[in-house]
Amino acid sequence: MSMFFEPVVKLSNALNSLNSGYADLSFEEQKALTVLERIKLYNWTFEFYALGALVLIFLAYTIGTKVNSGRGRQLMMSLNQVFNDLAFAKIGFTTKGPQNQPFVAENNNTWFTTYTSGRSSIESITARAHLLSRFNPLSIIMEKVLGIFFPSLVAKDLEEFLEVTIVPNGHYVTSSAAPLPKDTSSASSVVNKFKFISAIVNKSDMAKAREANYYLSLTHTSESDKLPFEYVFMSENNQLNGLFEFYGGAEFRELLSQSTKFLSFIAFTDLPEEKPVTEKTWELSLQPRCVIRTKMVTGSADLARLNQLIKEVVAIVDAATQHFVQNPSKAFITNDMLKKFSNLRSQELAKIVKVVKQTERELLQEKKQDLEREKRRQARNKLSGEDQDKVDQKMREKRERRQRNRQKVRM
C-alpha cells in the first residue's frame, strides 16, 4: 500500500520544502521579523499557482456561462420568430410583469425551454434545448474520458440537442380571421388519427435513436429512393413511408438533404419515449405528436433551415388535419391503416400486462414461500431437542435425494 501513497507523500514533502527556509526559523527569529520581511522571506509559489488555478476556474465559468447563454438565446429567439411567423396566439411564458418571458433558462444556462400555443391544427409546440456545461470544463473532460472507457456510465442527455414537440389539436380553421369551429367534439377523433409511428431518421443516429426512444424501437427500418441517401424511414408499417412525400412534396426532401448536418430525426408518434412498465403508465403516456430532434443548431444558415423545417412539419400537420376534418377520403391515413396500427398497440399493451402479471405472480410465490418457511421454523421450535434433530435429519435426506435425482437427470 505504501507504494501507492509514495508519490502523494513525495508531492507533499516537495510542497513543504518550498518554504523550508521560512519554516526552519525559530519562533524568536520569526518574531524579530517585520511584516514586510516575513512577506519577502516567505515562498509564495504554491499560493500563486493556487490563485492562478482559481482565476482560470473563474474565467472558464464566466466564459462558459456567457457562451451558453448566447447560444441558447440565439436559438430560442429564432424559434420564437418562427412561432410568430406561424401565427401562434401565445408565445413564451406568462410572468407577473407586463411582458411575456420568451424562454426559460435553467441549470445555469444548460437547459433552455420555449413554448407556444393557440393555433389552428396545433395545440402547442414545446422546444427544449440542452447545452454542455461549458462553465465546468473539468467535468466535461472527465465525462468524455470516462465515456471512452465506460460508455454505459455516461449519463443520458450529456450531449447537446434540441427537441421540438408539436402536438396536434384536431381543430382546423381556414384563416386566422375565421371563426372558431362550433362543434369541437370531433377534434379528439381527428387527433386519434395521428396515432401512428412514422419517422425519418438520419443514418448517423439510427442506433442511438432506436435505443433512446421506445416508439422508434417498434418500427421497421428501411431505405428508400424517396429520401436523401443520408436518411432512412422508421415506420411501424411500410405504407406510412409515403406520408412525408404526400404532404411535404419535393421541397421537404430538398430541405432534408440540406439539414443532414444537424437533423437527427423527425417522428410522428403517439407512444412514449420511455418504455411504459405498467398498464397505467401506458395509458397516461399516449400522446399523438411530432418530434423533431436535432443537434445543437448555431449559425444563421442552419437556424434558417431549422426554422424552415419546423414550418414544413407544421404544414404537414395542417394539411393532414385539413384532410381529416374537411375531406377524410383524401387523407393519406385511412381507417384501415388506423385499425392495423391499433392492433400493434393492443399487442404491445398485452406484452406489458403479461410482464406485470408474471412479476406479480413471482412476488406472490416468494411471499408464499417465506410464509411456509416461517411456519416450518415455528413448528420446529415447538418440538423437543430430539425431535428437532429428527426433523433436521429428514430434511437433509430429502435435500440429498433431490440433488441425486437432479444429477441423474443431467447425466
Binding site: 471512452i148 472507457f149 454505459s152 443520458k156 443514418k203 448517423s204 439510427m206 442506433a207 432506436r210 435505443e211 433512446a212 426512444n213 421506445y214 416508439y215 422508434l216 424501437s217 417498434l218 418500427t219 421497421h220 427500418t221 431505405e223 441517401f229 443520408e230 432512412v232 411501424e236 412514449p272 419515449e273 420511455e274 418504455k275 404491445e348 406484452k351
Partner: protein, 190 residues
Amino acid sequence: MNPQISNLAIMLVMMQVSRRLDMEDPTIVLYVRIAYATSVALAWTVYQLARNKIVKKNDLTTMKYVAPANAMAGETEGKLQVTTVRDYDLQEVDSAIKSIYTGLAMMGFMHLYMKYTNPLLMQSISPIKSALEHNEVKIHLFGKPAAGDLKRPFKAPSLFGGLGGAPEAKTDKKSIEEAEKAGHGGVKAE
C-alpha cells in the same frame, strides 16, 4: 495461422528472449522502450490511416444484425443493431484504437511505476501485429473484399477454430424482423 495462436507463440518466444536480456542495463531498457513505442506508434498510424479511408469512403449502406446477448449485462435476448457500414467500421477501428490507449496505460503503470521491463518487451510486437491483422485494415488498407471472413458483422475470433468462440451475430431475415419490432428501446436506466 490463427492470430490468437500466433500471438501465444510470439509471447512464448519473447519470454525466452526477455530471459536472456539484462533488464537492469539502461541501454537495453532504452532499446526496449524504443521498440515498444515504435510498435505502438506504427499500430496507431495504421488504424488512423484506415479510419481516414473509412471517413473518406462514407459508405452509408444500412446494416442490420442481431448482436448476441451480453450475459454480463444481464441480457437474455440479442439486441438489434441498425447502423451504417461507415459507422460499423468506425466503431471497430475506434475500439481498436481504444485498446491501444488501454495497453499504453497498463504498460505505463507496469513499466514507469512498478519498474517492470519484461512486459514492455513482450508487448513490443503484438500492437503492430494486431493492427495489420485487423479486419478493417485488411479491407480498407489492403483492399481485400468484405466477403467471407471479412463479411460484416465480423465473427468474434476464437482460440480453437470453431470451438468455444463467442456467439455470432444473427443476420437472417427472421431474427432481424423479430428483433426489429421487439420494443427494447427507451428502457429507463436504474
